[in-house]
Subunit: 667 residues, 2 copies
């Protein structure tokens, strides 16, 4: 095992200073077990730095951190254990702050709650509050390859350097950095990590069997922070690893093979979380080859995992990526619903269907996937993308908290029904944006996305702006008001800004094919991947209505199906996703579509320029290396935003012939 | 040295059967030297196969192959040596065919002339004809990398497998295959090969110094067929290899370094041909970095090579590949002329300026480069591209003989002036289309391009259709008329067909960026590489007139400058290269531009379908492996041609709003 120089890694939202309030106090810790040891270590470190101390027995204390075992029934009333697994209660009374949890994980989350509160945790009185995560699984999927992929590299869609776990075909073995990563994740509420890419290539396939030891070594470092390890596996494993002639999920030998494989995995990692599977998608193998359903495929793996408490996350990202653009009856947006909704009720209890938040592919604006409202008898997980594949690739500031919050608050079944955040019983998952970059995320401000993901996964109805300010306060402890306000200003609204200068009104894509960075208005217009805008000299957009289009709008429950069905009721920001309209169509905003395109593209660039000015004004308040890194990326963002503005505006001027009513330069 | 199984390599235009007429005769060979030995070996092989024999002294003979040394003055009248170096005379008189040359190379070319003639070489009487090459240098540039490039692979723009010379960073050492390649080249008239890519990366740079031995081993195999070896070098070699602080061409230490390097090269390869240099182009280093001109750069290398008779080929492919598409004053087409024409007269006698045939980059249709008519005091080489980068990548049949012939016959200075073929005193060069594919060129019919290149380089005013039939007769000896006619039909006109279904009317590009295969109408429209069509709802094309455009048309001498200046006189096939016109503009053909686009795209696909039918009808006459390979590529060509047709037609229908007047399907 090589050691990482963790001093060279950014402390992100856990700088030593964030522990000042805690570290100056007297803390009593009650409980036992590895996670309690982790809590004790954190407190001891903080005390060593800030002069407080760990106390014992009846000594006076400022803070009590206590695991109360609900099962022993002694000295515990029911209300104290109501927090459930991973939950905790927080109270302050008579000069003592008390955190109570029913397990070590809850105590760890309670500890980080105290850290977040800072001095406020030790101030005045607080009635008892109970905190518990909305969902039991809050996962980061790493699209990390073990071997460098010839096209996708070490990390597929990774914009933060290499992988934390793998390099050039081998485990890096950098235990300290992995431990530091686990600590950051625990501090925002993440409790699961999938350590390899959902596209499982030849080398990666072997992690399941003869290379499971390398996964176990990662699990060893994640475990002390309450994080379980998951593994992406290939559906074809019985063939490619086991030498069987088939991977048919109903074949007895195949089922035996998986049972043996799973036994081997749990032999190496007793608290292993489960599998992530991308099957029958973009060329990956799957049950279709054997005439079986996705439920057959997922349930076969679920059966193998069930005896050990493991879960399979089966991705719903299944569509035809060899479409013929000439065939307008095919609509990629429909695919997940068409494939999976008929299978509702057929999945095993530990088979979770992992659904991307939108029907397409992590665009800057999509409607919420109708699958999320269509499968009440299936455990669904929501998948979002922290890595900024389509949102600026960590060269642009694009804080995604508000996007994810909108999705989580959306009520897909009916206006008064449960929200996505409430119904995602199978978990909330993000594709990780982290790599071996010293700032973890390439763009230092992209740390805010990772943090916001964890916090929203814990509490989906949280106010994202509160989370943003929380991140600012932790990452920049004791920041002067000018710095906090500046950071807030740079990040808040950055998603809306990004949307303004890229693809308009929900139409999506318009990126360079392949790498997906920068504008390519027709990039996917004639592509087998199936994402089009159909712009011609008269209008733009995709008719997905039931009346005259692809019928995608009808995949929603009311009122959404009705709302989306006609241009008159469709929200502006999704208009071109659902309708093909003339350039002169008047939006609810009162602007025509073409003028909206011009205006937003000019505004977007101006907003980036303004954010850069704000950032430049913070130079005296931010560490030079961090300030320079962000400033350098801002320059690229501004250049790229101008490129987007000019290409999109020129494209639509040339097609529509309509001049900008304000006479600005369109090339 | 590993041996190649040459039996597994296609004999191309030198199948054993092509030697039947020669091999059945009695042949006397007079002369000495390595190339005469090669001739003797060829004849002996043929005789061994077909029953003839080599005779000596005064024995009766059917064929005399004779080197007459012009310098010894004995038994030679002047007319017998008029063929000059590499030339030969051919005559038949009194039952004896006589080939006379003044050197071994000429004798070798004379031998292959006899092979081409077949029985006709031994039939009746023939007055003496003199054959000599139009230019002393007929070269193939291999864009082969030694190490596999992460993006471009082993062969940049190679569509015929790996490199003949290099694999994974090392010389392949497959001497027999290299020798077989040299033999094919000699048989069509090529006499020089540059063995590595003009983009010289780190590994390749070392071929000049410590790895020159690997180049010498290749030269060893090329030499017996009269082929000299050339090397691409990096202008930065004194810095990257020599550790000097500069590569300034006027710096004494730099000049010394090159002198020493050249001395080392000639120490290893005494008949080394010279250097090929791509400088200040697409990121390659060059003299601009030191404030020096291209003449300074080229002349410095020329000075180092001069004592040994070596030549530097300095490429004129210099342009700004970081253009801003918004800046319409920059025109890539102008670049070579703007950079080089002012330097006319400044280049050393052994510094050859190598000029691409068109002002852009090997598009299916370009005007002839104005540089070719603008530098009378400079030795120019013409560069064409046998590898089909933009012409179907050896998946499409696209026989380029007629395109090259048009270029070679073009008279750039005045209508009655010298042709390009006559003025290319510095040589005629093609980028090779050969790799380690068993058919040499991937597509078996692409062999016809390599053959036609060599023959046109030897005789630029030759009728390309005669060359095509010559290739057919050699490659398919004793082909029945149906086969010969079928092959002719499939190949003749295939360039015009390719043009029909791709970018219309000289506008160029419209390909997928990066790999350049398949349609991407806007692929380069907003790109820094600088190639645009400016299509909008009203019209299409680039105004390069002097009156209102970029002024490129004025780079030509009269009458071309006048002809190209106005749409009324500009040839149809170049209209959109020189002018932006409305879709309703009427061509000389009588069609509107938009209808021309529709018609040619439908016709092009029909012509491919018809060629495929013709090919299918030849199944009984072509060896199964060859037939299958061509048939499989034809299927892809047809698919791709349809994709081109539909994307281009849809693009222009959506922009123009003008329906196809024949009501065919446009998506």
């Amino acid at each position: 095992m090589s050691r990482t120089d963790t001093a060279s890694v950014d402390p992100a939202w856990l700088p030593p200073e964030a522990f000042r309030a805690l570290g100056g106090r007297r803390t009593l810790i009650r409980g036992a077990g590895p996670l309690v040891d982790t809590v004790r270590g954190e407190v001891a470190d903080a005390c060593g730095r800030f002069g407080g101390r760990l106390v014992e027995g009846d000594e006076p204390r400022d803070l009590l951190l206590e695991v109360v075992d609900a099962s022993d029934g002694i000295d515990v009333d029911d209300s104290e254990t109501e927090s459930g697994p991973e939950g905790f209660t927080f109270a302050r009374d008579g000069g003592t702050t008390t955190v109570t949890a029913s397990d070590g994980r809850g105590l760890l989350y309670g500890l980080f709650h105290v850290v977040r509160l800072g001095e406020a945790a030790f101030d005045g009185e607080s009635p008892r509050e109970t905190h518990r995560p909305a969902t039991a699984l809050r996962m980061l999927d790493h699209w990390d390859n073990v071997a460098v992929h010839p096209v996708m590299g070490q990390v597929e869609r990774g914009y933060a350097g290499g992988s934390l776990f793998w390099r050039d075909g081998r485990a890096r073995g950098e235990t300290e950095r992995i431990r530091a990563y686990a600590r950051l994740l625990a501090a925002c509420g993440v409790n699961a990590v999938c350590v390899n890419n959902v596209n499982v290539h030849d080398v990666e396939a072997r992690l399941l069997t003869d290379r499971i030891g390398e996964v176990a070594e990662i699990a060893e470092e994640l475990r002390p922070y309450g994080i379980r390890t998951h593994l992406s596996v290939t559906f074809a494993a019985p063939v490619v690893l086991g030498g069987l002639p088939t991977a048919d999920p109903l074949d007895a030998a195949v089922r035996d093979w998986w049972e043996r494989a799973v036994r081997g995995v749990y032999g190496a990692i007793s608290d292993f979380g489960g599998f992530v599977v991308k099957a029958d998608s973009e060329g990956r193998p799957g049950p279709f080859a054997y005439g079986r359903s996705h439920a057959d495929g997922a349930n076969m793996l679920a059966a193998a995992l069930a005896p050990y408490g493991g879960v399979v996350h089966w991705r719903a990202f299944v569509y035809d990526h060899r479409q013929d653009w000439r065939d307008r009856t095919t609509d990629r947006a429909r695919a997940a619903y068409d494939h999976f909704a008929p299978l509702d009720g057929e999945f095993a209890h530990n088979a979770v269907l992992q659904v991307k938040h939108g029907p397409m592919d992590f665009q800057v604006r999509e409607p919420v996937s109708p699958v999320l409202g269509a499968m009440p008898r299936t455990r669904l997980a929501l998948e979002v993308q922290a890595t900024q594949e389509y949102t600026g690739q960590q060269r642009h500031v694009c804080w995604l908290g508000p996007m994810w919050s909108e999705v989580l608050r959306f009520r897909p079944r009916e206006e008064a029904g449960a929200s996505v955040g409430e119904t995602a019983r199978g978990g909330i998952v993000a594709v990780s944006n982290v790599g071996d970059d010293p700032f973890w995320t390439g763009h230092p401000l992209a740390q805010a996305n990772l943090y916001a993901f964890g916090r929203l996964a814990w509490q989906p109805d949280a106010d994202p702006l509160r989370i943003l300010d929380e991140w600012i306060a932790l990452t920049f402890p004791a920041a002067p008001e000018r710095l906090a306000a500046g950071l807030h200003r740079v990040l808040d609204g950055s998603w809306a800004t990004y949307e303004k200068y890229t693809a308009p009104l929900g139409v999506g894509f318009m990126v360079q094919p392949g790498h997906h960075y920068g504008p390519g208005v027709d990039g996917y217009e004639y592509s087998p991947w199936g994402t089009y805008h159909f712009a011609d000299r008269d209008g733009v957009g995709v008719d997905r209505s039931a009346a005259g289009g692809t019928g995608f709008a009808a995949q929603y429950a009311k009122p959404w199906s009705e709302l989306y069905e006609t241009p008159g009721t469709c929200p502006d920001e999704l208009l071109l996703f659902f309708h093909h309209v003339p350039y002169g169509h008047v939006l609810h905003s009162g602007k025509t579509v073409i003028q909206h395109i011009y205006d937003t593209h000019f505004e977007g660039v101006e907003e980036v320029a303004e954010a850069l000015r704000v950032w430049e004004g913070l130079a005296d308040l931010v560490a030079p290396a961090r300030h320079a890194r962000v400033a350098e990326r801002f320059e690229e963002q501004l250049r790229s935003a101008r490129e987007w503005r000019d290409q999109v505006n020129s494209y639509f001027l040339r097609k529509s012939g309509v001049q900008d009513e304000r006479g600005r330069t369109v090339y």
